[in-house]
Amino acid sequence: MKLFELAETLEATFICGENRENVGFDKVGASDLMSDILSALSEDGILLTGLATVQVVNTAVIAGVRAIVFVRNKKPNPGVIEMAREHEMPMLTTPYSMFVSCGRLYATGLTGLNGAR
C-alpha cells in the first residue's frame, strides 16, 4: 500500500510529508507505548498512535518507520511537526479511533509488524 492509499482508507489528511505520498509499506503497528514499537520489527512499517508527543517522532526515527498516523483527529504541536519535517517523517491524522483505523487497514490485507494477520 502507498501512503496516499492509506490516507484514502482512513480519510486521513497529511500534517506534513505530502511529498512522500507514494512511499510504500505493507505492515502496521498500533500502540501508545513507545517501547512496544521499539521492541518490534517496525522498520518500513507505519505507526498508528493516539500519542502526539515529541517522543513519538523520535521513536519513529529510531525504529525506522515510514510514517506516523494519529488517530481521533489528534495533531501534535508546531514544534513536533517541525521536528518531523526535519527528519522527513510524514505525519497524518485520521478522524477514526484506533480500533476502527486498525480494522480498516486490516481489511485491505496489511499485516502487523511481525507479518501476522
Binding site: S31, D32, L33, M34, S35, D36, L38, S39, E43, T49, L51, T53, V54, Q55, V56, N58, T59, V61, I62, A63, G64, G79, H87
Partner: protein, 148 residues
Amino acid sequence: MPALKKCFHIKGRDFIHAGKASISVQNMLKQLNVAPSLIRRIAVCGYEGEMNAVMHGGDAVFSVEINTDRIVLEISDEGPGIADIDKAKEKGFSTAADEFREMGFGAGMGLPNMENNSDQMIIESEPGKGTVVRMFFETCETSGSQDG
C-alpha cells in the same frame, strides 16, 4: 579502523531534547556504512537508555565508541541508582511516574529492550551513587551486509 569516540551530555528531565544523542549516533553509523540491522539495534538501545537517564537518572553522559570489531554504548548517570538490578531488568517492572507513562514510556520495557538488542549489557549501580549501563555490539557478523 581506529577507535572513534563521541560523547553527549544529557540533561535530566529534558524531554524536548531526549533522543537527540541516539539519533546523532544513528546518523554517524549510517555515514560509516554500518549494517542497517545493527544500526537499528544500537539506536534502540541508545534511545531507551537515554529516556531512562532523562526519566530517572538526572544528568548523564552518553558515549559511543566505535571499533572495527565492536561498538560500545555507555550511559553514565548521576541519579539515585538501582537497588535491585535483576528486578529492574524484569519485563513490566517500573518505578516511572505517571507523567512518563503519558509519554509512552515507563512500562518496564526499557532495560529488557536494551538487553535483547545488545550482544552484552552490563549495569553497575548502587543506591545514591548513580548508574552506568554499558552495551556491547559485535560488528563482525553483520558489518557491510544488507539489512535482514
